[in-house]
Symmetry: C2
Subunit: 289 residues, 2 copies
């Protein structure tokens, strides 16, 4: 079974109870709508890639961690898109959850996805119970206090924002957890794996900032120009277009160089290089302000 | 150390990282504001009472479960009070979180409290790692799918609502988890403990419905008459005032009778009877429609 199938299967199992009573139908539908069809699944694929490079000794634990991380990512997108934040009309090329299901079900679907993520993570206990506490702490800290994605989003509510800290929290933290969790699930020392995810996360954020300027909304599946419109910190606004591109390349190289010695090191380097090509922004076909 | 001190200490530890960098100050303040000063702490006190009645063999696990459950309760209050739901101006006698900190930080503080709850629950592993998976599943299902408090809140978005299922999800589920988690933390068979919490939860919801009609806002610390104003299902609206009172008494008796045999059974029965007196609504001093 390839990685994408493992992830979709694990997510399907995680949301199995959303489909029928006693789950309220609207909540279940809104949750499914936010999770399927698949986006890039870049974070859970990183978890599985790291676990496999390290021997994948507890595949159920790896699947649990990967799907929990993706559910938390989907939850953060729903709440980011709410009227009180970005008020985004579209996401992944379709109406945002609050547009399709209303603001109340958008709040609740985000909440329920967070809870379902931790419930799903508990499945790790079926093949590696001794790894659950570290998995739980790793995943929770990447979303919560003091520097997880919720904290990252909360920096948008402060008058003074440190860009590095903001991006580290808003994007880097969950990527770092994705690589660390892959190593924890595989039962190897996870600390050396943090840099890979952290740098990929930073790279992804810079690529996202670039796409916000370089892409058009149809291509991107969500509105563009949002950073400037929402007066939000952005690598392009901080470093300029060329500076941001150079920063992105350096982050990708640093990520690949950081991959620790492991049975699948060479294959993982190839895989990460191919993966980062997918999220690098295309050169603009036309001049963009 | 008495139960209330154990709970406040555990909650203080859980929110320790909210106080300083790199946590964004506004998020940390909003979280503290939602959790302190103490409300009744009725759910976590139930967890500790059950654990103690069963021998309290892993007090760190019991504290972790109790504080996680209280954090989840506080999170649910913040999101329930949001403008898109009850739009409540006050809670626990002070401005609601969204009034004090704005809607964005209210959404995020709720999210972060959910995540912090699961992070805190992981502390159970320090003295009873083998009990963590069941604790995690118990707590997660009481908040999430298919019938946890988020699902309960989502029934308010449906056209057709079954009152029993709604109250079971919105209130009963977390109370049931509070008693079950106390037994799990203590390492005893937890299944027989579900009825105690479930019935107390139903009783608490009926008492809350009665208070919404019988109390004034100053006494209650939050607006009254909300069930009718929001066209929300309520035991008073379903059974009438006297019917709801009788239902409440029968639930409390059923809860006490359900307490399983355990070393502290007699003391726990006394404790629960005293506890339920605290949340029973006072007789109205004036006629109420």
């Amino acid at each position: 079974m390839n990685d994408m199938m493992r992830i979709e299967n694990a997510l399907t199992v995680a949301l199995a109870e959303a489909d029928h009573q006693p789950c309220p139908p609207g909540l279940g539908e809104a949750m499914r709508y936010a999770v399927f069809p698949a986006g890039g699944r870049i974070r859970p694929r990183l978890t599985l890639a790291v676990s496999q490079a390290c021997g994948d000794s507890a595949p159920v634990a790896a699947d649990a961690a990967a799907s929990a991380i993706e559910l938390l990512h989907c939850a953060s997108l729903i709440h980011d898109d709410l009227p009180c934040f970005d008020n985004a009309a579209t996401r992944r090329g379709k109406p945002a959850v609050h547009v399709a299901y209303g603001e109340r079900l958008a709040v609740l679907a985000g909440d329920a996805l967070i809870v379902t993520a931790f419930d799903t993570l508990g499945r790790a206990a079926t093949d590696a119970p001794e790894r659950l506490p570290l998995l739980l702490g790793t995943v929770a800290k990447s979303v919560g206090l003091p520097g997880g994605i919720v904290a990252g989003q909360a920096w948008e509510c402060e008058d003074r924002v440190n860009l590095d800290r903001y991006e580290q929290a808003k994007t880097g933290s969950l990527f770092a957890a994705a690589s660390v969790a892959g190593a924890v699930a595989a039962g190897v020392d996870s600390a050396p794996w943090r840099t890979l995810g952290a740098k990929l996360g930073e790279a992804y954020q810079v690529a996202d900032d670039l796409r916000d300027v370089l892409s058009d909304a149809e291509e991107l599946g969500k509105p563009t120009g949002q950073d400037a419109a929402n007066d939000r910190p952005s690598a392009v606004r901080q470093y300029g277009l060329d500076g941001a591109k150079k920063h992105l390349e350096s982050l990708v190289e640093g990520a690949i160089e950081s991959i620790p010695a492991c049975p699948g090191q060479a294959e993982l380097k190839t895989q990460i290089r191919a993966e980062t090509k997918r999220f690098m922004p295309k050169e603009p076909a036309r001049a963009v302000a």
